[in-house]
Amino acid sequence: MFQLLKFELYKIYKQKSIYILFILLIAIVSSGGFVDRQNERAIYQDYQKFEGKITKEKMAELEIVRDEVNEKFDNGEEVTSEEHTLYGISELFSFRIARMQEREDEIAGLASEINNATSSYKMKKTALKKDMLASIDSSQLYYQKGPAIMIDMIYTFGFVITAFMTIIGIGPIFSKEYSSGMDQFLLSSKFGRSKLVTAKILASLLFILSIVSAWSLYSFAKAYYLFGMHGWKSSLQSLYEFIESPYSYNLMKTFFAMMTIHIIAALAFGLITVFTSSLSKKVMVSILASGMIFGIPLVFDTLLDYGGTTKILVEQILNLSIYRFMKVKELFSGFYTYNIFGTPILHPIVAVVVSVGLGGLAWYMTKWVMKRRQVSI
């Protein structure tokens, strides 16, 4: 088995196309705006004094800076970069406090909703949201650009890199055997319908893990070099995209939760790709089929615009797509539950269960297909 796994890995990594594609994708990711590293170091220094709990003393100190800066603005005087940073921190403080107040109001509103709930499910769902919001602590502020871009990478480029690499690297895993005529050797050999299939599946999963590791490593190196690894303790709500998230996670927990779900969904997508490959005699058909499984929801999500009930329907479908599971962002940016026998189950849990289910089914179906596979005429 180990020998077969080694050979299957060799076959996957011997494809030049995966290296070309990976370099191309990383080049696209790297082509973003310029970051002044020295300036970022200075900003971090300015932040340090105000990091941690938002206190009245810190707010008072920043209020003075704020007044001075406003005065300079009025007089048309130049503002130092330190003043600029402190002004920004004071704004963040104000924003955080406002958000905390809004959250308090929302919790109060939810409490009355619970009393007026028309069904047991609605009551449980509202209570769950209320408890989740109540447990959020966003009263701390940190310089967190490093972790922020690492989390951002997951749902902007990372999941696309994983998907594209999976489609190109794994798509041909069986169909290339059929189109090259190697299938006759494989299917007539002792382990060609059993251990080889397992070896191909495991090799595919390892390949996906290596891809996720590769872009994560790139993301880490980039974040570390440009911003440093500070601010992991900051709350998830400190990220603009997650202001309304009900999850009381810090960035460290968020990163690992998102990466875990991304990996589970990516492995499921890999298994689906292996399955489509086992069905297709042509490499291009296999690549197109798995490409469509990922790409159609992406097109609906990013390119098409809807309104009213259509949007709700499309969102409901998208929320259960492997594309959105891999992207992860929407699983944590809002409060979304599924009614499972009257119990509200959170979207991330559903994503994991559905991914594992789909992956398991694809694994089983691939085995089933390969047990019965016949060579073409």
């Binding site: 020998q3 077969l4 050979f7 076959k11 011997k14 090259s180 005529g181 190697m182 299938d183 006759q184 050797f185 494989l186 299917l187 007539s188 050999s189 002792k190 382990f191 060609g192 319908r193 059993s194 251990k195 080889l196 019965r372 016949q374 060579v375 005429i377």
Partner: protein, 295 residues
């Protein structure tokens, strides 16, 4: 050791590729002779379990081969008619890969790979990529992979295609040498491949088994149907239209025709000792491209 085929049929839509094929195989070389489209490859594929029958059964020592699954595949070696190889693999790596697929442990695999590369005369190019190989070299790699697990049943479909005469003789002798304790099923439309090594010859035509007999008995059936006739150059065309004509040997006097016919084609014609090529022509009137392959 016995392979029993019972009423085996394979249909592709409305087309019947193999029709109600029944026979037994025990140790020895079996030559399966037939024109293109006669069902040889379909039969071989079913024997190699890469295609399933539409009806009928194949049993190995009394057990259905498709139920035996991996256990049956463990005892077979298969060389398909059209082989595809991994272009980026070296000859050696390819054989190691097939050895792993066949479940050979690494030490034994190493021994067998060395032995077979030697046997098929590819030791010198063991580190070369298969993609750079000629057709004949690829065929030899195909032969080597089929023998890796010392198969009890060797299924080889058109194995000599692409081999030069020396290699073909070498391969024939190899099959003959190893056939003592195993079943060797060799499909071909090149009669010289099986003429001297086959224990029995199966003649397939349009998916049906016409004959399964030892070569001498088959030849005795056409012992009074092969004629030699001296004709002038002008008469060649006439005889070709009227009869199945095999070899034409030209001389200063005209030409000597080898005619396969149930009746004496001319009072001047004399009976000749039949060979398998004559037999082939006798059964496969429409496909007369065999003589060129005779060594």
């Amino acid at each position: 050791m016995k392979l029993t085929i019972d009423h085996l049929t394979k249909r592709y839509g409305k087309h019947t590729a193999l029709d109600n094929f029944t026979c037994d195989f025990t140790s020895g070389v079996y030559g399966i002779l037939g024109a293109n489209g006669s069902g040889k490859t379909t039969l071989m594929r079913m024997l190699a379990t890469v295609t399933t029958p539409s009806s009928g059964t194949i049993q190995y020592n009394g057990k259905n081969i498709f139920e035996l699954g991996d256990d049956y595949r463990d005892v077979i070696g298969y060389l398909p008619q059209h082989i595809g190889l991994y272009k980026n693999f070296t000859a050696e790596k390819f054989l190691y890969y097939i050895a792993a697929l066949k479940g050979l442990d690494q030490k034994y695999a190493s021994l067998k790979v060395n032995e077979l590369l030697e046997l098929v005369n590819l030791s010198d190019v063991r580190k070369k990529k298969v993609g750079t190989f000629s057709g004949g070299m690829k065929q030899r790699i195909g032969i080597a992979q089929a023998l890796l697990n010392d198969p009890k049943i060797l299924i080889v479909d058109e194995p000599t295609a692409g081999l030069d005469p020396k290699e073909r003789i070498r391969f024939r002798n190899l099959l003959s040498a190893i056939s003592g304790d195993r079943i060797v099923l060799l499909s071909t439309h090149i009669v010289s491949d099986i003429e001297f090594i086959a224990k029995e010859i199966l003649i397939l035509k349009s998916g049906r088994l016409l004959h399964k007999q030892d070569p001498q008995k088959l030849l005795s059936e056409i012992s009074e149907k092969v004629w030699l006739l001296q004709v002038s150059e002008k008469e060649i065309a006439k005889y070709q239209t009227l009869y199945k004509v095999g070899n034409i040997v030209r001389s200063e006097l005209g030409a000597e025709l080898r005619i396969i016919s149930d009746e004496r084609p001319s009072p001047a014609a004399v009976l000749a000792k039949p060979n398998l090529e004559d037999l082939y022509l006798y059964y496969f009137e429409e496909d007369q491209d065999v003589s060129a392959a005779q060594i």
